[in-house]
């Protein structure tokens, strides 16, 4: 390949010495880029290897499947089950995306289809501002505003109206899956909205216009042209937002209640992968405890990577 490329150059009569020096520089440059490119892979691989080595005892002792499906977490008795954390991470992320996706979609449609031009920048800016708020500040906001509100207003009302569903049963505690999921929703909103905006910007003007030209109203243009064309990109935004929510640590640790149990009600306190690692790693006494936490990290890492890769695939696959 490179031979075929250099051959015509050599024949084009360039002075050989110069060509040689260019090639050396070029080669060094390429080497550097190659190293940088491979470095990223290496780093990822290294993280994986370190986590896997730490986690190995746990994955051997009870076995991976037993570890993932057991809901018993007792570091003192050296009994480790990942289920409460996997469950908590999944439930809070699901709550977050379910709440944030419609809002993000609405914001994106507002900005790309409805808002007058002068309003687009300020709204986009406000959305981006949300992503600049530190996680711990979201946690504080959640503790002081969201949790009391949920405990005193939302959860009793939901319980009264839909309490027959296991999802909305139980005492209104405030701290729990719902609180963590709600704050997470605000945190993933910028991701969902900005990716959706990018996706909708790629809708060809001609497609939008031909819907208008058929006598479509604004909403019908969205239904006929914008949404169908953005479909896979929007699913990508959803998956990317989920990926963000899965790994969020601080705010969730402050709001989920930190109880290693598998609750079926959204009002119940739980625990998440990221927050149990953050809370327990510093004081983990035994190797087994450290290993179990590393195994949780490994699970989280693999799941987030899978989500992000899937999102990239979905967003990148759209035709330009």
């Amino acid at each position: 390949m490179s031979m075929a490329h250099t051959a015509p150059l050599a024949m084009s009569g360039a002075p050989p010495r110069r060509a040689g020096s260019v090639r050396t520089g070029d080669r060094l440059w390429r080497l550097f880029l190659l190293a940088a490119g491979c470095g990223v892979f290496l780093l990822t691989a290294l993280i994986l290897i370190v986590l896997a080595r730490l986690a190995l005892p746990v994955l051997h002792q009870p076995g991976t499947w037993a570890f993932l499906t057991s809901s018993d977490w007792d570091p003192v008795a050296e009994s480790f089950g990942a289920l409460p954390f996997v469950w908590g991470t999944l439930v809070t992320s699901a709550v977050a995306v379910v709440l944030a996706f419609p809002v993000g979609l609405g914001v994106a449609l507002f900005i790309t289809e409805v808002a007058p031009t002068w309003l687009r920048r300020p709204v986009t800016f406000a959305i981006e501002l949300l992503s600049a708020v530190p996680s711990v500040v979201y946690g504080l906001w959640g503790l002081f505003i969201v949790v009391p509100w949920l405990r005193e207003t939302v959860e009793p009302a939901l319980g009264a109206a839909l309490g027959f569903l296991p999802l909305f049963s139980g005492p209104p505690l405030g701290l729990g899956y719902l609180a963590a999921g709600l704050v997470l929703a605000v945190m993933v909103l910028p991701t969902l909205a900005s990716v959706s905006i990018e996706v909708m910007r790629t809708v060809p003007a001609g497609l939008r216009e031909s819907a208008y030209a058929l006598g479509a109203t604004q909403w019908e243009v969205v239904r006929l042209a914008v949404l169908p064309h953005s479909r896979s990109g929007l699913v990508g935004a959803l998956v990317l937002g989920t990926g963000r929510a899965l790994g969020e640590t601080m705010a969730v640790a402050m709001l989920i209640g930190n109880a290693p149990s598998v609750g079926t009600s959204l009002f119940a306190p739980g625990y998440s992968l990221a927050s149990v690692i953050a809370n327990e790693f510093a004081e983990a006494g035994s190797d087994a405890h450290v290993g179990a936490l590393a195994a949780l990290g490994l699970v989280l890492f693999l799941v987030t990577i899978a989500f992000n890769a899937a999102a990239r695939l979905l967003i990148g696959r759209r035709q330009p």
Partner: protein, 252 residues
Amino acid sequence: MDETVRMAVRGLSAFHRGTAVLHNVTLDVRDRSVLAVIGPSGCGKSTFLRCLNRMHELAPGASVTGEILLDGRDIHGPGVDPVALRRRVGMVFQRPNPFPTMSIFENVAAGLRLNRMAGDLDAVVERALRAAALWDEVKDRLRGSPGSLSGGQQQRLCIARALAVEPEVLLMDEPASALDPIASARVEDLVHELKARYTVVIVTHNMQQAARVSDSTAFFYLGRLVEHSPTAELFTNPREERTEEYVTGRFG
């Protein structure tokens, strides 16, 4: 030929953020005729076309002054809904752009569903596809995706989609310029046939095409209507010198 005026444009000026791109255009479009709009790039042909179905005003900062009468009624008058107007004045664009996730059938039916038009959907779709000279090529794969059609077929599909709602006027903005010569010739033939039932306004860069398909031709230059004459006259014996320079290719 029918001499009644279908659309009358009176002193039309169009603006983009305060900048005039069309200056005081006045012309008549006769019923069941083909009006070709020619002129150098950027002279306002597309803008003119988009004023006729009020698509122009969708662009941010766009505005118009003057009157456009459709069957004697001002299309900017109070109580005229642009959405309803666009059903009566259909449009086909330069690039074929079928709705991507809909089947061929659904694409043609889209306008009917939008406008909640009653009637036998199958029959209307078939009629529109026949009118667009596409029926024989797609009748066995109506449920298939329009993505599997060639560019020329997609363009005819878009024409069928526009025809399905039975517009009174059909606006075509360089409908054949993205197509190969054979597909382009088919669209040209089609325009010829459409004239029997519709009023057509077609923008084209192709002088031969304008000469072949149209009854009258309007030449625009720098946002002004320079000349509007019967096509044969405009091409063989133009009144204005600039028209002659343009149609003979001596334009500088």
